[in-house]
Symmetry: C2
Subunit: 354 residues, 2 copies
């Protein structure tokens, strides 16, 4: 149902948790040819909240803490144990202070190891594929982010039409046993698994500018959740190793993974075509619930795709056209002015057409 | 034959090449909990040369350039092509200046990729397991180091009793398709392969304080070269993922790999026992030629094992007891005073007992 009257727009529930601040890295890290200050920082959530406040019509709530066992739908037990204890083990092993940031620097030579190492520096390399730091508060922050996503899914199971999870650190690059790309727990996958467990045919639409490699890996052989991702061509963009159109799933998940890689600099006309194809796929799947992995780093300022401010409302409108109960889970978006403007634009675009 | 008369000590040929200077990193890198200045720098070779000059009795020579095709005994063609072109490709892809240092930051999620990526940032992750930089001169420096090792082996094939290859960057952590641990081309493996190809039953004795994971990987399934490594326990020391006593080779190489991991802080009494066991293994193999991967980071200053200055002469003497034509190839050793004193100590210890 569409309405042009802003005053009667529905109110959208937003789950947010202050513990996200416990993961707020400060050390520069390598990206391509430069050392960059960290981009995935606590300030991001503040900027989104400012934008939501400015747009109006959002009902902010704090989620209950997600039960650890429910995360086992997405991550392995040993990975959760690692993530929870990594920083304190690393501090002991390296004699580092509490504020120091633990970063992997050594990986196995391919085809090895023969004996699984137990040293924390080795486990950092085993359980990550990137140079992301684990801080003393990372686990608590990641749990807070996952709690937002889980609560948003539960609200939709309980009858809400649409809910936004202001999850950070984000999640869609996190695989069952891998952190990376700023992601530790896969919030999007956690939300989708909850919906699927509740008996709803569930689809994920990932509109982050980077392929949702973690999410694809989580559901690759499952088949209970359809995954569709529209993103910059991984031939030339992060995360490089996954995201091609010919990756379609395996085993019970065969045919349930759909990638729509786009050339660098693709603007709305090309983008909307891929988005339309992804939405058609979700329609054909007869999905009963949707999780949107909501990155707004498709904005031209991020140098991958070339969406502009007005296009984000159109994304929301297009998604609303599916007419599905929808959980929006925050993923990427970093450059100045983008998060505070374009996240509310997607959500209000959705609400205005719902 | 042993002699106590220094004046009649044999002269040892040393192969060294000034192009090693072309790999001289300056950017700090992560190691455990800290950002450290680079340790594997051009100055290391200068310090060794000072020590050799002070000890006397060394005949310095420049090697001919090794033929690229001969490196295919140890490395794959695509890895050599990558290493040779990596820095120029990375400069183009990232817009980096010539002096910038290319470092991997993203790896595949385990079990992937499905499509082998071609982007240089992805290939840096595929072809390395560490945070080592590739500089504009790294290939040329690595070729110079390999040329020293190859020339040393050829000299032994030609009848020299012992030759020292002042190779840097070092090599024993480099696998057929992996750079890491400061190593790009596996100089030790290149020397050993040359000896084996010349028809000599060849053994490698790796006395670097870190396990020779690259060398083990090169010969793991080959069986034409016996590998023995005495090193700090990889459970708690770099390179973590390999180096345990139960790793003994596979296929034609089954039983030809021997690891002697030692507890942190092991001093000469414990060290000499493991060294003796490694030498016995080499004796039982009826080796006709030996390559010593000569790290002197077993010195207590490096915090892994606890050898002192006098022990390095004893290592040389023990190796001389094998009475084999021997190529010494420089591997690790970094802390102040160690390289310039302990490398000559090993070599003169060897010569004094030969």
């Amino acid at each position: 149902m569409s309405t042009d009257d802003e005053e009667v727009r529905q109110v959208m529930i937003v789950f947010t948790h202050p513990d996200h601040r416990l993961h707020d890295p400060t050390e520069p890290h390598r990206f391509g040819g430069t050392m960059l200050p960290p981009a995935e920082i606590a300030e991001r959530a503040d900027r989104v909240l400012q934008g939501l406040d400015h747009a109006g019509g959002f009902d902010l709530r704090r989620p209950p803490q997600v039960e650890r066992d429910s995360l086992l739908d997405v991550h392995t037990d040993r990975y959760l144990t690692f993530l929870e204890s990594a920083h304190s083990r690393w501090r002991v092993a390296t004699g580092s202070p509490e504020h120091a940031e633990a970063v992997a620097y050594i990986r196995p030579v391919p085809g090895t190891p023969l004996t699984r190492p137990t040293h924390i520096d080795a486990e950092l390399g085993i359980y990550s594929n990137d140079v992301d730091p684990i801080l003393s508060g990372t686990w608590q922050a990641a749990i807070a982010a996952a709690s937002c996503a889980a609560a948003a899914a539960e609200a939709v199971v309980g009858g809400e039409r649409s809910v936004y999870s202001l999850s950070r650190p984000p999640g869609h690059h996190a695989a069952p046993e891998v952190f990376g790309g700023y992601c530790f727990l896969n919030n999007t996958a956690i939300a989708a698994s909850r919906l699927a467990r509740a008996g709803m045919r569930t689809a994920i639409l990932d509109v982050d500018t980077h392929h949702g490699n973690g999410t694809q890996t989580v559901f690759w052989e499952r088949g209970d959740v359809l995954t569709a991702s529209v993103h910059g061509d991984p031939t030339v963009h992060f995360p490089f190793f996954l995201g091609h159109a010919d990756e379609t799933g395996a085993g019970p998940g065969a045919g349930a993974n759909h990638n729509y890689p786009l050339a660098t600099g693709t603007a709305w006309s090309g983008y909307s075509e891929a988005l339309g194809a992804a939405l058609d796929t979700i329609r054909r799947h007869k999905a009963e619930a949707l999780v949107v992995a909501l990155g707004v780093d498709t904005h031209v300022a991020h140098g991958v795709l070339a969406l502009e401010g007005n296009d984000f409302g159109r994304i929301g409108e297009s998604v609303a056209g599916l007419d599905l109960p929808t959980v929006f889970v925050q993923e990427g978006g970093y450059e100045a002015g983008v998060l505070e403007r374009d996240v509310p634009a997607v959500l209000t675009g959705f609400l205005d057409r719902s």
